[in-house]
């Protein structure tokens, strides 16, 4: 029974309360942001329509100079030549102007430009009628613009010798200001999504640590007491209903224990003073004590562990902070790019990304070994401190060398925190629920990535790339708030190191398993390679080159995290039911590979959207399946080295793809361009998937499993 589980909520009489709170939060969020958006629109209309009018006045004034020049040459207003070209120029230079017309004082159109007037639409008739009836324009234009059909008509009188000889009408889209507001609607939607996911995380934390966790402990204690065990009370204090219930429960247990102790001490006195009577009473007391176990002072126990919930929230905040820069990091490197002898600009851009993943790849197994026997909280804090410093200084880095240094320090902290969180979650879940623990880790990782990537683009659009990295340092600095209250024991104590326990020994042991080698080289590494090359390098740069804004780029990038966060659990169940992960791994490789080639057919934003969607879908089922496949093909190695060591080696080796990806992309992008590089990277991944299929067809896993021990015995 774990906190937050729907069954637990039902068992505690809190059925669907989480759903109700989230629905209420969503309704309130939508209402409040809609209200604020309405207020923004009002402010825009109030402040910007006069600005628009002033701009049109300036345009009119420019036209007046030319008109006056012609009138000064005694050319009548109705006899100007070349006005089509002239008005066409005005329209071309000012995109928001939909039409320009010059009428005589009676409103008859003398010259006109712009589709609304020239296309002969009903709107044109309406406008013509409006010009005819717009006496106000002849008298003064101070009354402001008039809405006609879907246009806002600004009328400016042409006066000469104190009389109006014509009127210039300039029309703009009536919703031009509204469009300026709605341009930001996707940003507001992004904020809403992130706010909702943040609310979900924090509500989950409060519900687990303040409601379901303690109530589960109350239910458990009630069961213990109802079996006659009065030796334990709950160590939980809170000034709310749950706290009061716990206090009442503890008082009840304490009262029974107090009466029991009182009876016991009185009985002792009587037994000492009058042994004959005392014996009869002692027999009666013994009968009672067989049914009820009491102590003078019941032991106070926590009863529930909130550390998993706190770790989950800490991980969420930490990943959220780090992923704020995902959507723009290559552009940031490009911005501060400084030439490095012997390296092209593309390679220099890829360098900090590769360096980051290289340090993560080295850090994770090293920290795993180093952490044994040490206090995990101190390591957590050290990792967070390194990340905060790295992010903050990366944001103010002056050149690529500084950026490399600070990104490496960030990676050191990131790798440390990530591996500690992962091992803590898996340890807390226990061996029987490791898969669920891994699923929890994955879902938190990708929902945080989703939030960070999406909001990172929005923030960077306003305050720039460097400052967004500084903001991410501040966010990462919030992580210790959740780490500090984690109940941590030192990580498992060091065991005597076996020969194969050292990484080198493990590699040798696993290198003799052809299927492990095939899965790692042809599925694990290519999956990481395509991630680093496409997702972290090519896609952001290509989307930027296509003219997408930073928030738009971030939103497209978010699709990957959405696919991973929401479809991974579904695929995981399907893979478990199917019991054969190989087809999923192969199909995942093929789909993610061929998905990249879509950009050859559509080298635009939609092509990238499709490619990222296919990559997210493919990796959602292939990454989960890879782990299951590794587990299936390494039964002997897992018995010898342990499952965690085998998976750890797989994870470490596959990171080579993350390191190589940006370099591969940098090499390809020069001769083949962004879309060509994407397609080639995709074909490499698809090719690897085909080779994997061939390998498993030639050497079926069953035969290898039998062959492996034989080979080892022969070597021995």
């Amino acid at each position: 029974m774990k906190p937050g589980d729907a069954n637990v909520l039902q068992q505690l009489g809190l059925k669907r309360i989480d759903v109700r709170v989230m629905a209420f939060t969503l309704a309130l969020l939508l209402t409040a942001t809609a209200g604020l958006s309405f207020a923004v629109l009002r402010i825009f209309e109030r402040e910007l329509v006069p600005e628009l009018e002033q701009k049109l006045t300036a345009i009119y004034a420019t036209m007046r100079i030319d008109i006056d020049r012609a009138l000064g040459l005694r050319i009548p207003l109705e006899s100007f030549r070349g006005m089509d070209v002239y008005l066409g120029d005005v329209l071309r230079h000012h995109g928001e102007i939909k039409y320009v017309a010059i009428t005589d004082p009676a409103g008859r159109i003398l010259y006109q430009g712009g589709e609304p007037l020239t296309a002969g639409t009903p709107g044109a008739v309406l406008l013509a009628d409006h010009f005819m009836g717009d006496r106000r324009a002849v008298e003064a234009h101070a009354a402001g613009p008039t809405r006609v059909d879907t246009y806002l008509d600004f009328a400016f009188p042409i006066e000469r010798d104190d009389r109006t000889i014509g009127v210039v009408h300039i029309g703009v889209d009536a919703d031009v200001v509204r469009h300026k507001v709605t341009e930001g609607v996707f940003n507001v939607a992004t904020v809403l999504l992130v706010a909702l996911l943040l609310a979900f995380e924090f509500l989950l934390l409060v519900m687990n640590t303040r409601v379901t966790g303690p109530l589960m402990a109350v239910a458990k204690l009630a069961r213990t007491v109802s079996q006659g065990n009065f030796t334990v009370v709950l160590d939980y204090r809170a000034k709310d209903e749950v706290g009061r219930l716990v206090t009442a429960l503890n008082a009840t247990v304490a009262r029974v224990c107090a009466i029991y102790s009182d009876v016991e001490s009185r009985l002792m006195t009587i037994v000492a003073q009058r042994p004959q009577i005392g014996e009869r009473l002692a027999a009666a007391f013994e009968h009672v004590s067989r049914h009820y176990r009491c102590t003078r002072t019941p032991e106070a126990q926590r009863g529930f562990n909130s550390s998993l919930s706190r770790t989950r929230t800490a991980l969420f905040i930490f990943i959220f902070a780090e992923s704020l820069s995902y959507s723009f990091f290559p552009m940031f490197v490009k911005e501060i790019h400084s030439p490095i002898p012997g390296l092209s600009q593309a390679a220099v851009i890829g360098l900090p990304i590769s360096a980051f993943w290289l340090v993560v790849a080295i850090t994770q197994p090293s920290v795993g070994v180093w952490a044994r026997g040490r206090r995990r909280r101190s390591l957590f804090l050290l990792g967070i401190a390194l990340t905060v410093v790295g992010l903050a200084f990366a944001g103010v880095a002056a050149d690529v060398y500084e950026l490399l240094l600070w990104r490496s320090i960030t990676a050191l902290g990131y790798g440390t925190v990530l591996i500690l969180c992962q091992s803590y979650i898996l340890d807390s879940a226990g061996p029987e629920a490791r898969t669920q623990g891994a699923a929890l880790f994955t879902s938190v990782y990708f929902s945080a990535t989703l939030c960070g990537t999406a909001i990172g683009g929005v923030i960077a659009n306003q305050i720039g790339y460097g400052m967004t990295l500084v903001v991410s340092a501040f966010v990462a600095a919030l992580t210790p708030l959740f780490i500090l209250r984690i109940e941590v024991a030192p990580a498992e104590a060091a065991k005597p190191a076996a020969r194969k326990d050292a990484p080198g020994g493990r590699i040798v042991a696993l290198a003799t398993n052809p299927h492990f080698v095939a899965v790692t080289m042809l599925a694990g590494i290519p999956a990481r390679l395509v991630n680093a090359a496409f997702l972290f390098y090519l896609a952001p740069l290509f989307l930027d080159a296509l003219g997408n804004s930073k928030p738009e780029t971030a939103r497209v990038m978010t699709i990957y995290a959405i696919m991973m966060a929401f479809s991974s659990p579904i695929w995981a169940k399907l893979v478990d039911r199917w019991r054969n992960p190989l087809p999923f791994v192969i199909c995942g490789g093929l789909l993610s590979g061929f998905g990249m080639t879509v950009v050859l057919l559509r080298p635009d934003t939609w092509g990238v959207v499709v490619a990222i969607t296919l990559l997210g879908t493919a990796q959602a089922f292939s990454m989960t399946s890879q782990i299951t496949l590794v587990t299936q093909v390494t039964p002997h190695e897992r018995r010898q080295l342990g499952g965690a060591a085998v998976l750890g080696m797989f994870r470490m080796i596959e990171r080579a793809g993350s390191v190589a990806g940006p370099f591969l992309a940098a090499v390809l992008v020069g001769p083949y361009g962004y879309h060509g590089s994407m397609a080639i990277t995709g074909l490499i991944v698809a090719g690897a998937a085909v080779l994997l299929a061939i390998t498993f067809m030639i050497v079926p896993p069953g035969r290898a499993r039998i062959a492996a021990p034989q080979a080892r015995s022969q070597r021995a």
């Binding site: 923004v40 600005e51 420019t62 109802s226 006659g228 219930l245 007391f285």
Partner: protein
């Protein structure tokens, strides 16, 4: 001080709302700022291009910039179309330097042109360039003669105070709206959370009261049916009741013995 569960939940809901409203307000402000600056800049560019067009048509007649006697008229006319124009300056580019020909703000002729203007004009990628100084926004356009040679430029100087005032006004309006919505959200968060948690609070309070009554010997059984929590407490009550009863019997017997003694 006693806190209710719903207050904790309301705090989370309100914090989320404050986050969303805060970011939405900031995004709205930045969007307004960008749009306002674009409008003001566009207006300045229109005025600058108008002056450019008028001056270049004179240059097309073969006149040099210093010979243009109509400059005050042209600039005065353009300036009159937009009251937010602080001043206008026409300068001439020479072989080695550049100097002001005419300015509406009393700058002396032959005064040297600020190097930043020349750098901005030299590096301009479009038909105009802009510079922002602490108090002024400057928009400039180059002047070309009939041979397409760059002979000088026209600059418009706008007071930043105009834009800053507008921005401050919009920011205060936005702040008022945000504060009002936050206030309303706070109230609604509390009310909503209260109603969502009321049944839970009632049940927990009922269980607590039941345990308190048990303490005072006034046992009101809540029953062993229902969810795991309630049935657990129900079973506990039964056991506690039985224990208290057994211990009371023993205690009474002890008391009688003690009295006899």
């Amino acid at each position: 001080m006693q806190f209710s569960l719903f207050i904790k939940i309301a705090t989370i809901v309100f914090t989320t709302l404050a986050f969303a409203l805060g970011i939405t307000a900031v995004l709205g402000y930045f969007k307004f700022r960008k749009t306002l600056i674009d409008f003001v800049q566009d207006r300045a560019v229109v005025s600058a291009l108008s002056a450019q067009s008028a001056i270049e048509s004179n240059l097309d007649l073969g006149l040099s910039l210093v010979m243009l006697r109509t400059l005050p008229d042209i600039l005065g006319r353009v300036r009159s179309t937009d009251p937010s124009i602080q001043s206008m300056v026409v300068f001439e580019l020479r072989r080695d330097d550049a100097s002001i020909i005419y300015a509406t703000d009393g700058r002396a002729a032959e005064e040297a042109v600020p190097p930043a203007w020349l750098a901005a004009q030299a590096h301009a990628e479009g038909p105009f360039w802009t510079l922002t100084e602490p108090d002024t926004v400057i928009v400039g356009v180059p002047l070309r003669n009939s041979f397409g040679q760059n002979v000088g430029g026209v600059t418009l100087l706008y007071s930043r105070a105009y834009v800053d005032d507008k921005l401050a006004d919009a920011a205060s309006q936005l702040a008022v709206w945000t504060a009002a919505l936050l206030g309303a959200s706070a109230v609604l968060s509390v009310i909503g959370s209260f109603f969502i948690f009321r049944p839970v609070q009632r049940r927990l309070a009922m269980l607590t009261r039941s345990l308190h009554r048990l303490d005072t010997g006034n046992i009101v059984r809540i029953g062993t049916e229902g969810n795991e929590l309630e049935s657990g407490i129900g079973h506990l009550e039964e056991k506690v009741g039985a224990a208290l009863c057994d211990l009371e019997v023993l205690s009474n017997e002890l008391a009688r013995t003690e009295a006899r003694a």
